[in-house]
């Protein structure tokens, strides 16, 4: 166990007026030596704060504030679980926060680094056995527990995706069926000049496949542009570098493959129907 980092996670309240403005009146803060703090970029942008500014900091609204000085501006990590909360983040030394909120010598959790990745099971067992009231967790287990929101959203997206695939399938079947049926006279002419049923079916199926391929290529381009627009929009809305939409090769293969299979299937079904009809009937005689 080479590294142990105690963490105290509590909400603090910061007066967002920089010292230049906030300190014009009588100074009501408790301490004269300001607490060094780091604020995140969003708070700095929204409140117009810079490194070196002084702010008043209190554990809760109405409490006598302490004086703090901004020593750094941080960038929030791209954490999906935080994206919709839009909370500001403020870092300070553990002892300063414990004093500020009257938490005493207490922390919410310890982050522990093990020497080797495989050591974690043994370390968890030792901690759970040694200290009654403590419970050790793997970071990956905590990630699974906190990612429940995203699992729900992912299931919702899959369900919506399923509905849109059904809608697209029906649409594609309709269009290809009509496209093939438009060729009734061509097919009749081909049959009358002696082209075999098999050749006719092959040509119709190939044509349907080509249409599906060109359509899905165009759809992929539209989807990729849509993905760029979605990322641009939501990155702006939530002020995060997170990617909200990713076009992966697997998704492209699924979309193109599905439309190709559907196209070929619809083409085959329609072509088989056509070649079973006598050519003169197809010509309306």
């Amino acid at each position: 166990m080479p590294g142990v980092c105690p963490l105290l996670l509590l909400l603090g309240f910061v007066s967002t007026a920089p010292a230049a403005r906030a300190m014009r009146g009588p100074d009501t803060t408790r301490v004269t030596v300001p607490i060094p703090i780091a604020i995140d970029q969003q708070l700095a942008d929204d409140a117009g704060l810079r490194v070196g500014d002084r702010v008043a900091l209190a554990g809760e609204p109405g409490a006598t504030p302490d004086s703090a000085v901004i020593v750094a501006i941080t960038i929030q990590p791209a954490d999906p679980s935080e994206v919709a909360r839009r909370e500001y983040r403020l870092h300070m030394h553990l002892a300063d926060l414990q004093t500020l909120v009257g938490y005493g010598d207490r922390v919410d959790k310890f982050a522990i680094a093990t020497r080797r990745p495989g050591d974690d099971t043994a370390v968890i067992g030792r901690i759970d056995d040694a200290a009654f009231g403590f419970r050790a967790w793997r970071s990956s287990d905590i990630a699974v527990r906190t990612s429940q929101t995203f699992r729900v959203v992912s299931r919702f997206h899959r369900a919506i995706g399923g509905i849109t695939i059904v809608a697209s399938t029906i649409f594609l079947l309709c269009i290809l069926l009509l496209k093939v049926e438009e060729r009734r006279r061509d097919v009749a002419a081909l049959r009358l000049i002696g082209i075999s049923r098999r050749s006719v079916v092959t040509s119709v199926v190939l044509e349907a496949g080509l249409i599906a391929l060109v359509g899905s290529a165009f759809g992929t381009l539209v989807g990729w542009i849509g993905s760029l627009i979605i990322n641009w929009h939501y990155r702006g809305v939530y002020r995060t570098p997170l990617a909200f939409s990713i076009v992966t090769p697997e998704i492209v293969v699924l979309a193109v493959g599905l439309s190709l299979v559907l196209g070929l299937g619809a083409g085959l079904a329609a072509a088989l129907r056509l070649v079973r009809v006598p050519p003169l009937t197809l010509l309306g005689r």
Binding site: G62, Q148, I163, V166, I170, C174, E182
Partner: protein, 397 residues
């Protein structure tokens, strides 16, 4: 006559008609679901907030109710100040805290969320069985608490606050009588919740929570704009932030805006898909019957009659598809609601998809109108073709 001919045309191509109806049905179902989603969250949240008629929530400055551990001090003085405003007819102070049940009947360690309330004006739960929170020791719990603890109405509960699981110490301890079972509006269905008298919970939490509350709920007199009272509260009590239903809905829009935007985009796409599908089908159908239409025109059938017949075809496809889509949409909305209902911490009464007849009919009416419009152009084009030339071309072909 027109209806019969349109029906005959649809029956003549059964596969094509069935696919078109299925396509419109799925588009209509998706459109209906998206309309339910776009308005459902707001409606559900609004209904939830107003379930007991409290239009204002008053939380510690800069926070949302129960969004942090912050509390409001000097609660009694604030209640006195709020009562000076005659537009406020009821004030319900609420304190939230974690409590621990010692010696649960089930043998399990039960940690529960506790609400300190005034039983006479509470607005957090609906009593299902038993009697209301009252006196100094009468508490009510939800089903999840009863299941976890194995407690029954009438039991005496040994409840502590500030429990330290390592040292088995606590800051406050009371023996409470479980007087009833309640359904809490704002907590997750699987979360154990206990409501007890506010003063008891404050006393159990020690000096740290003396005369402190997590929020106030305020009921405003009928006919008074809650936002006006909210502004008054913000001005009069600078240590708090007042939130009306309208401002709470803005917060919901900000946090859940993604779903509304998704609903608008997918709703728009389904409308476009329905329109395109009907347009394509009617256009192809008309192109196939150019000769037939020319003959009808030649024997004296009016242009308007031809147009009406083709438009009725498109309308019939859309109407049938929309009716099927309505049923599919309601079923899929339930499925999707079930999926999103697993969101951690979501109140049990919250719904993402809410059926509102007016919105549903308006959206499906839009789809039907789109289907009707889809038939107008191909119909007019076919009816406007020169009769003699068309008949000659058809005969040669």
């Amino acid at each position: 006559m027109r209806l019969a001919r349109a029906g005959a045309t649809l029956v003549r191509y059964p596969l094509r008609s069935a696919l078109a109806i299925a396509g419109v049905a799925v588009a209509a179902a998706l459109l209906l679901d998206m309309v339910m989603l776009s308005s459902g969250m707001r409606d559900s949240f609004r209904t939830m907030l107003l379930v007991r008629g409290f239009q204002l929530r008053i939380a510690p400055k800069g926070t949302l109710p129960f969004d942090s551990e912050a509390t409001i001090g000097d609660a009694t003085a604030i209640v006195t100040t709020l009562r000076q405003n005659r537009d406020i007819v009821a004030i319900s102070p609420v304190l939230g805290a974690q409590v621990h049940l010692l010696g649960a009947r089930s043998g399990a360690e039960v940690t529960s969320f506790a609400l300190g309330v005034d039983g006479a004006v509470e607005g957090d739960y609906e009593l299902e069985r038993g009697v209301q929170v009252g006196g100094t020791d009468r508490a009510v719990a939800n089903a999840a608490f009863l299941a976890a603890s194995g407690a029954r109405i009438g039991d005496t509960l040994d409840i502590v606050t500030g429990f330290d699981p390592q040292l088995r110490t606590y800051t406050g301890r009371r023996r409470l009588v479980l007087a009833g079972r309640a359904r809490f509006y704002y907590t997750a269905s699987r979360q154990p919740v206990l409501a007890l008298p506010l003063t008891t919970l404050q006393a159990m939490a020690g000096t740290a929570r003396r005369d402190r509350v997590s929020l106030f709920m305020a009921r405003v007199r009928d006919g008074v704009d809650p936002d006006v009272v909210r502004d008054w509260v913000d001005r009069t009590v600078p240590r708090v932030s007042a939130l009306s239903v309208a401002s709470a809905l803005k917060q919901v829009d900000a946090r859940m805006g993604y779903f509304r935007q998704l609903a608008f985009i997918l709703g728009g796409i389904s409308l476009a898909v329905g329109f395109l599908l009907v347009t394509t089908l009617v256009t192809v159908s008309v192109n196939e019957r150019i000769g037939e239409i020319a003959v009808m025109r030649a024997i004296g059938v009016s242009r308007a009659h031809v147009v009406q017949q083709i438009v009725v075809e498109g309308l019939a496809l859309t109407l049938l598809g929309t009716l099927v889509g309505l049923a599919i949409g309601i079923v899929t909305a339930r499925v999707l609601n079930g999926i999103l209902g697993d969101f951690p911490g979501l109140p049990a009464s919250f719904r993402f998809f809410v059926f509102r007849a007016r919105a549903a009919w308006a959206s499906l009416g839009l789809l039907v109108a789109a289907g009707m419009l889809a038939g107008i152009y191909p119909a007019w084009r076919a009816a406007s073709l020169p009769i003699a030339g068309t008949l000659r071309r058809e005969a040669v072909a």
